[in-house]
Structure formats: C-alpha cells, structure tokens
C-alpha cells in the first residue's frame, strides 16, 4: 500500500469554525490532490499541488484553501466551515501527471461533519 496518512480520520465541528485536514505521504510523489466524496456526485477535485508551494484550484475550490510547504505534506483548510462542507475528504498522490496516467493512490479518507 502507498504510504498516505490522513488526519484526523473523523471530525465533528460547528459551523463557522476553522478546520485543517492533513495529508502526509512517504512516497516522495510530486502530485497531491484533495477530493471530496458525496453521494450522487462521485469524487470532485478541490485543490491539487504539482510541487512544493505550487497549487491550483479544482472543480469545487470555493471555501477551501491549501498549502504545501514540504513534499510530503498537503494541508486542506476550511477557514469557516459550513454544513455544505460535511463530506468525506480524500487525499491522493501520483507520480506522473494525473491526466496522463490516471493512476492515483488514495488515503483512507477523513470524515468531516459540520453541525
């Protein structure tokens, strides 16, 4: 299994509070991604990173920010959580550009509930 660790795995928070999810990899892969998974929507890309300090927006980036200060860590921050951000969040990594190989390695997910 690819070395990807997400933390926390479960979190319950209240509307308006900040939340940070962490993704840590031991594979030294260049690309890292944050997805959210919701029933009926499959997986949707929030943000991704193509190197240290290099990030870009995905399909559903509003309300989220990311940072990557080291190759191994990719943080997802919800500055002020809303109930619509209740979801399961997955971190993924890839060695090559995802559009070319499509082979992503996923973490086990972080379930976030915003009350």
């Amino acid at each position: 299994d690819a070395g990807i660790t997400q933390s926390p795995r479960h979190k319950v928070t209240e509307t308006g509070t900040p939340v940070t999810l962490r993704c840590h990899q031991t594979e030294n892969h260049r690309y890292m991604y944050w997805y959210r998974q919701d029933p009926g929507h499959g997986l949707r890309l929030i943000h991704y990173s193509y190197g240290v300090k290099d990030t870009d927006k995905g399909e559903v980036s509003d309300g989220y920010s990311v940072s990557r200060s080291k190759t191994e860590d990719f943080l997802l921050t919800l500055e002020s959580a809303t109930s619509s951000q209740t979801s399961v969040y997955f971190c993924a990594i890839s060695e090559e550009a995802g559009a070319n190989t499509g082979e992503l390695f996923f973490g086990e997910g972080s379930r976030l509930t915003v009350l």
Binding site: Y33, L43, Y48, A92, A97, G98, A99, G102, E108, G109
Partner: protein, 116 residues
C-alpha cells in the same frame, strides 16, 4: 469537455455469476479510461486502465474492461463474482490535452452487491 455516465447506481449478483458494470463516456479527445474500486471505509484503488493500447484491458482480481469507441463505452466485467467483490466501483475518464494533473472526471459510482 468530458463526462462519464455509470448507467447503474446499484447492481446485485449471486456469487459465481458474471458481473457487468456499465460505463459510457464523452470526450473531445481520445480518452484514457480507468476503473477504480472502493471497499467500505477505504480509499479508492485502481483496478485497470486503458490508454490507447489494446482495447481489452485486464486488471486485478480477474476484472477486465473493453474499450469500444463506436459505442463510447468502457464496461467492466468479471466472469464469476466473489463475495469479496462487493464494493463501489468508479469509472473515470481523462481526455484533456492541457497536460495538467487535474483533468480526471469521476463517475457517480456503482455499488456491487454479491449474494450467496
């Protein structure tokens, strides 16, 4: 633009019988196509991928898929279902030629149930 449609949200089969999970795609370019599997409370795992080589692609755990350009389909099959195959399956398309690392479109998933 690209899209992917998984035609069944839920499929139920008996153990030992064939599995067919259907996927149609739309892409402005020659696409790459993938199937991922997700077991309960786990991340997704790549089952197989098509990247313009052989149209019949073999994956892990006895699964295979056939790329049919004329039908814009990439259906996933397995000759004989096993209880451990019960999971959610996602069809994924990548056809964007900008070369960025973000141009994958996931289907909404098909939940496979395997009964005794």
């Amino acid at each position: 633009a690209q899209s992917v449609t998984q035609l069944d949200s839920h499929v139920s089969v008996s153990e030992g019988t064939p599995v067919l999970l259907r996927c149609n795609y739309s892409s402005s370019y020659s696409p790459s196509l993938f199937w991922y599997v997700q077991h309960p409370n786990k991340g997704l795992q790549l089952l197989l991928k098509y990247t313009s080589a052989a149209t019949l692609v073999k994956g892990i755990n006895g699964f295979e898929a056939e790329f049919k350009k004329s039908e814009t389909s990439f259906h996933l099959t397995k000759p004989s279902a096993h209880m451990s195959d019960a999971a959610e399956y996602f069809c994924v398309v990548s056809g964007d030629l900008t070369g960025t690392a973000s141009k994958l479109t996931f289907g909404t998933g098909t939940r496979l149930q395997v009964t005794l």
